[in-house]
């Protein structure tokens, strides 16, 4: 076991344990805070896979943006306006059936796939390559995504004004 293995298992453990707490915790603010560690662990795993740019974007977008927004929303509704946010278990039986089927399908897929094992190459900086791909090969998709985000932004602003 090398240093990298230890670090990988550390990040994997952080991700899984905090994800478990996100789902099981009764207090919704606690869940939101545990989500922070899940995102962080996932970013760590991206780094281990050599995807440095995606890891950093994961941190910026999810931890720096979405999570903070989520916390704002949860805290403002929960503590200041005194709205009860319910966290509980409903429809336990159908949920467990669906979950069982889904887990079975995923498990079967993982076990039955003939995984190719390749020696992992040394990670190289990916940012320049991603940038070139976005501007050359996927220019249309990239622009469309930009327009989609702009529409969402304008929509949110006009809804908030009402």
């Amino acid at each position: 076991m090398t240093v990298y293995d230890i670090i990988f298992y550390l990040f994997a453990a952080v991700t899984l344990i905090s994800a478990f707490f996100v789902v099981t915790n009764r207090n919704i603010v606690h869940s939101a805070f545990f989500l922070l560690f899940t995102f962080f662990g996932v970013a760590g795993i991206y780094v281990m896979l050599g995807a440095d740019f995606i890891a950093i974007v994961q941190l910026i977008v999810y931890v720096g943006g979405i999570l903070i927004l989520l916390l704002f929303g949860v805290m403002l509704t929960n503590k200041i306006v005194n709205v009860e946010i319910k966290t509980g278990t409903i429809h336990a039986l159908p949920a467990s059936i669906v979950l069982g089927l889904f887990a079975g399908a995923i498990g079967a897929a993982v076990l039955n796939t003939n995984w190719k094992i390749v020696e992992s190459p040394d990670p190289v900086p990916t940012t320049a390559a991603i940038g070139r791909m976005l501007i050359n090969e996927y220019a249309l998709v990239f622009e469309l995504l930009g327009i989609l985000l702009l529409i969402a932004l304008i929509g949110a602003a006009s809804m908030a004004r009402r």
Binding site: D52, V63, G64, L67, K79
Partner: protein
Amino acid sequence: MIYDWLYNLTGSEMIAIGIQSLLPLYLFILPFALVAVLLERKVAAHMQDRLGPMRVGYHGLLQTIADILKLLQKEDTVAADIDKKFFDLSPLLVFAGSYAAFAAIPFSGAFMGSNIDLGIIYIIAVTGLVVAGILMGGWASNNKYSLLGAMRAAAQIISFEIPTLLIVITVIMITGTMNLYTMSEWQTGYFWNWLIMGGPDLGITKILFIPLMVISFLIIFLSTLAEVNRTPFDIPEAESEIVAGYHTEYSGMKFAMFFLAEYANMFAVSAIVSALFFGGYQSPFGYLGNLLEISWLIPIEQFFWFTAKGVFFVLVQMWLRWTLPRFRVDQLMSFCWKYLIPISFVILLLVGLITVL
């Protein structure tokens, strides 16, 4: 690089990484915080025509050490209805976030925590941890002032991240790299090669860049000042309105962690500003080591210049703190969204046009 030297010395990857990652903390942040706390009190005192701490040591030189001894002995007062787990975690998270930024800061040509390709973007990304930590502390304290302070801090930091990022993107467009080490190496030579003087490339672009870069520097300096919650942008900790903001309930060493994180942050943003616009660790007048042909002297000189530039900007932050009154919340937000962000967009466009030409 120091890492190779450590690796040869210890013979183990793990020990070398461990020592390397602790070096900035023990050799830099802790001594810096010791000096900076005293400096802040002395600067404040002299600006207000007082003497400041004078009793402990010569002109109060040992005052901070006495304060730390006092903080260590203090009882850790904890209010009854707090959220214990997150209350304890928050100072750690805030400090971890600000310390993580030091991994990508080039202290000199020979020492840099991690020479990652995405340096500056990484630093901005880990700032998110600080915001989350502040929100956590404010919420877990179960105190209206704390929650208000935390909300203000988070809103302020995420708002001022936008002009910071825009200016950083402008700089990336000019230098063509996000790595702070490469960026500093790019500005090598004398002080007229620094980005604030238009960068090392001679020609018409250099002249066009100078005014744009001066404005960019002002914007990024102001917005990073707001990101570390310093006066005139210290509404998250405004004493006269909300006691001490998100760290109202903290005492003893937990408070000291917040304090240490604040000073580490102050230096980190100063270091970023100097690495982007003032040549990072590069000397303005060439190196003594080159002149005397002693190669080991150069990294030490670089470290000296880096620290000097960083401390200079920290001093400017202190100077502003004791000169300007505090902003109001609405003034702060309109300052960011109505002035800084549009100006940075214009600069981004202009620099884009100039680099294309």
